[in-house]
C-alpha cells in the first residue's frame, strides 16, 4: 500500500497505474538497461540483482540486496523462514516490483516490462511452487498440458507426445490420469515440475522444493533438479531452508538474513564460514545472533508483576 497524503491507494491499483506509466516509458525505449550482448554470454549471469530494496508498507523485507545467478548453474538461496526468499523469487518473476534497485533477467529489466513483455519472459521461466500449485480441476496430464495448450497451438497427437515425454522425465507417465487430490505431496511436486518444464524454459525457480517431503521423495526431487540442470542445461534457482539438500546440489549459494546477504560462496565455503550468523544457520544452533528468546522484559520481573495483577 502506498500512502499519499492520507489517502490509501491499494497495492494492486497502484501497481496497475505504475504499469500503465511504465508502458509509456518502455515505448520510449528505456527498457533494456544493460546491453544484452555482454550479459548473455554462455558463462555470464542470467539473473542480476543490484541494490534491491523491497518494502511492504512500513516493513522492509529486502534491503540493498545484490546477487547474480550464473547461467547453467544451480544457485541456492538459503535463509530462515520469513527472510524474504519467496519475495525474491516473486521479484525475479515480475509478480512484485521493487521499491528501488534493478532486477535483470537475461539482460532485460523485469520491473520495466509491459504486461505482454513480462508474459513473454515468463514463458521462458518455470517456477515450482511450494504447494505444487496444480490446478485442482484438471488431472496430471491436463496440468502438464495446460501451459502448452495456452501458448502453443499444437495438434492433439503432438501435444500428447510432448506431455508424456515431460511426465516420463519425472517418472510419472503412469499417473497421468490421477487428479491432484489423489497425488502424494512428492508426486504433486513432480507433476508440477513436469509442468514447469513444459515450455522448455531457460531457468526454473524452485520455491522450497523439499519442504514436507519424506526422505525418498526428497531424494527424487534432488535427483530431478540435478538432472534437469545437467541434462537440459536449465539454470536453476533454489530457495530453501533445508541446508543439507540445498548444499548437496548447488554450485553456488547465498545465505539471506534480515533482508540482506550474510554469506555467499560454494556450499563448501559457506559451511566453513567463520561469520557467526552463517555458522548458526548452517549448524542449526538454537542460540546465536538470532536469539532463542523473543525480546521480553526480565523474567523475574514479569513473574512478580503477574502475581500483583
Amino acid at each position: 500500500m502506498t500512502k499519499m497524503g492520507g489517502i490509501v491507494i491499494s497495492g494492486r491499483a497502484w501497481d496497475l497505474l505504475r504499469r500503465f506509466l511504465h508502458g509509456f516509458r518502455t515505448a520510449t525505449g528505456r527498457k533494456r538497461l544493460s546491453n544484452p550482448q555482454t550479459d548473455s554470454g554462455a558463462s555470464g549471469a542470467l539473473v542480476e540483482i543490484r541494490n534491491l530494496h523491497f518494502a511492504r508498507g512500513e516493513r522492509t523485507i529486502l534491503n540493498d540486496l545484490s546477487l547474480t545467478i550464473a547461467r547453467g548453474k544451480v544457485t541456492a538461496i538459503m535463509g530462515g523462514s520469513g527472510c524474504g526468499k519467496t519475495t525474491l523469487l516473486n521479484l525475479i518473476g515480475g509478480r512484485l516490483r521493487p521499491s528501488s534497485g534493478q532486477v535483470l533477467v537475461d539482460g532485460v529489466s523485469v520491473p520495466d516490462l509491459s504486461t505482454r513483455e513480462l508474459f513473454e519472459l515468463r514463458k521462458r521461466m518455470g517456477m515450482l511452487f511450494q504447494s505444487g500449485a496444480l490446478l485442482t480441476d484438471l488431472d496430471a496430464f491436463e496440468n502438464v498440458a495446460f501451459p502448452i495448450r495456452e501458448h502453443k497451438n499444437l495438434p492433439e497427437s503432438i501435444l500428447r507426445h510432448v506431455v508424456l515425454m515431460k511426465l516420463e522425465t519425472v517418472g510419472l507417465r503412469g499417473a497421468r490420469e490421477l487428479m491432484p487430490a489423489e497425488l502424494s505431496g512428492g508426486m504433486a511436486r513432480r507433476v508440477a515440475l513436469a509442468r514447469a518444464i513444459a515450455l522448455e524454459p531457460m531457468m526454473i525457480m524452485y520455491d522450497e522444493p523439499f519442504t514436507g517431503l519424506d526422505p525418498i521423495s526428497k531424494g527424487v526431487i534432488v535427483k530431478l533438479i540435478r538432472e534437469l540442470n545437467t541434462g537440459l542445461g536449465i539454470t536453476s534457482v533454489l530457495v530453501s531452508h533445508d541446508v543439507a539438500e540445498a548444499c548437496a546440489i548447488s554450485d553456488y549459494a547465498y545465505l539471506l538474513g534480515n533482508g540482506r546477504i550474510i554469506g555467499q560462496g560454494t556450499p563448501q565455503e559457506i559451511s566453513q564460514s567463520k561469520v557467526e550468523e552463517v555458522r548458526q544457520f548452517m549448524g542449526g544452533l538454537p542460540d546465536g545472533p538470532v536469539p532463542y528468546q523473543y525480546p521480553a522484559m526480565d523474567y523475574l520481573e514479569d513473574l512478580l508483576q503477574g502475581g500483583q495483577a
Binding site: D137, L138, D139
Partner: protein
C-alpha cells in the same frame, strides 16, 4: 470430474429449459401473441367517459375476446375520448350499427369494451367508427347521483 460430453449436454438442457421458460412467460403468461392481433383492422369509438379503460384492454363480443384497445386519445373538438381498437381479422363481419359499451368484469375488476352487434348487413371496415356508445359507469358518479336524488326529494316522514 464430470465428463465433458455430459457437461455440455447438461448445459444444453439448462439453456434450452431456460429459453423455454422465457418463451412460456412471453406467450402463455404475458400477452405477446394476444397483443399482436393477427392481420387485424382498426375501428374507433367515442365515449363521454372511459373510466378505467387502458390501452391493451380487451374488446369482446358476446364475451369472446376479439381484439384489444390500441390507442386512447381526446377529440379536441368535443372533448370526448376516442378509443381505437384493433380487431382480429377473422371477425370481419361486425355490423356498422353495432354498439360499444365499457363494462367491468366483476364488481371491481378490469374494464373492457363489450360490443353488441346490430342488424345491418353492412360491416365495419378498417378505419370505421362505432356511433352508438355507452360510457363507463363510474362508481362515484352513480353514488353521488343517488345521494343527490335522495336529498332532493322531501322526506315524507318529516311532514
Amino acid at each position: 470430474m464430470i465428463q465433458r460430453r455430459q457437461l455440455e449436454l447438461w448445459v444444453g438442457v439448462f439453456v434450452a429449459a431456460g429459453l423455454l421458460a422465457l418463451a412460456m412467460l412471453a406467450f402463455r403468461v404475458g400477452n405477446l401473441t394476444a397483443g399482436e392481433v393477427a392481420n387485424g383492422y382498426r375501428i374507433q369509438a367515442e365515449f363521454n367517459d372511459i373510466g378505467g379503460l387502458k390501452v391493451r384492454s380487451a374488446v369482446t363480443l358476446a364475451g369472446v375476446r376479439i381484439g384489444r384497445v390500441s390507442e386512447i386519445s381526446i377529440d379536441p373538438s368535443n372533448y370526448e375520448a376516442v378509443v381505437a381498437m384493433e380487431i382480429d381479422g377473422r371477425y370481419n363481419n361486425i355490423p356498422v350499427d353495432t354498439s360499444a359499451s365499457i363494462l367491468t368484469s366483476g364488481l371491481l375488476g378490469e374494464q373492457y369494451i363489450g360490443l353488441d352487434p346490430g342488424g345491418s348487413s353492412q360491416y365495419l371496415k378498417n378505419g370505421g367508427k362505432i356511433e352508438i356508445t355507452q360510457s363507463a359507469l363510474v362508481l362515484e358518479k352513480i353514488i353521488s347521483q343517488f345521494l343527490f336524488n335522495v336529498a332532493a326529494k322531501p322526506d315524507p316522514a318529516k311532514k
